[in-house]
């Protein structure tokens, strides 16, 4: 776990995202109807989901690790990852709503992508409620770890699979090509990939900060 105390990857993450502010706003983008300049949101809206996905994957990893070894610290890491994941989830939903207002016409049009993302959000809120409703530490850790492992694939199916099988306005759904197919030309990749990588590491960074605070709190509250 030495990795979380090192600085180099945090600097890399900051530099990556910093570069996308310039490349993402200034470099030429494909001119498309309806989207116009909002296509640049791709560099800021989609990386929120990437950041969320990264910390949720890490969270599942620590939940499995907890169930195997029963280390309390792994349980704390899993919770803090979910906390940060929910922050990025909210940011993704809100930016998506704003983008939808000016391309689809409404903040919330009951689109399958939006609806299932909202359900997945509640799924993870339920995780936190479940945790807080159990007083006994080991029981809480075990039950929430199992819930977390099951919640993750359901979230993946809800956000990334089901909307693509029906008609959705969101790119990548129901015969509606994702950006990657026709629109994401090589020029856009210069800003898109650094943004995805950079925001993933920033999400991870915030999670490690929360985890370290949690460790100190945990030590303080422990009965010696």
């Amino acid at each position: 776990m030495k990795f979380i105390y090192q600085t180099w990857w945090k600097v890399v993450a900051v530099l990556l995202v910093f570069s996308t502010i310039f490349t993402g706003l200034l470099f030429p983008v494909p001119t498309l109807p309806i989207l116009h300049e909002t296509i640049r949101n791709l560099y800021f809206h989609v990386p929120m989901w990437m950041g969320m996905l990264t910390v949720f994957v890490v969270s599942v990893y620590f939940s499995i690790k907890y169930l195997r070894h029963g280390n309390e610290e792994d349980d704390l890491a899993a919770v803090e990852c979910v906390n940060v994941g929910l922050l990025f989830f909210s940011l993704g939903l809100l930016t998506g709503m704003l983008w939808a207002k000016y391309t689809w016409g409404q903040f919330w049009s009951g689109d399958p992508k939006q609806d299932s993302a909202a359900i997945a959000f509640l799924l993870y809120c339920a995780y936190l409620i479940l945790r807080n409703s159990i007083d006994e530490e080991q029981k809480r850790a075990k039950i929430s770890a199992i819930y977390n492992i099951f919640a993750f694939p359901i979230m993946i199916v809800l956000i990334f699979v089901l909307p693509r099988m029906t008609d959705s306005l969101h790119p990548g759904s129901g015969g509606n090509p994702a950006f990657g197919k026709y629109d994401l030309d090589n020029g856009m990749k210069i800003a898109f990939y650094p943004a995805m990588l950079g925001w993933s590491f920033i999400a991870l960074w915030i999670a490690t900060i929360r985890y370290r605070i949690r460790l100190i709190e945990n030590k303080k509250n422990a009965i010696n």
């Binding site: 105390y5 600085t7 945090k10 995202v17 910093f18 502010i21 200034l26 900060i209 370290r212 100190i216």
Partner: protein
């Protein structure tokens, strides 16, 4: 460390002032291209601020962890 961050913040505030000052001139880079550069600068300042803030939290945490 605190002094250093303060200095950086002061420097950053200077860039904002410069941006306003420079916009009086007509042939300004910040004014070209539909003033998109102003948005770029604002976003760069915001993100730099958040990044510095995160780094200071990180550093403070390191200090507390060492005390333990």
């Amino acid at each position: 460390m605190k002094k250093l961050t303060f200095l950086l913040l002061l420097l950053l505030s200077c860039t904002a002032v410069f941006a306003q000052d420079a916009s009086v001139q007509m042939d300004d880079a910040l004014k070209s291209n539909g003033k998109i550069y102003v948005v770029v600068t604002v976003m760069a300042i915001i993100f730099t601020g958040i990044a510095i803030y995160l780094f200071t939290i990180d550093r403070r945490l390191k200090k507390i962890e060492k005390e333990k």
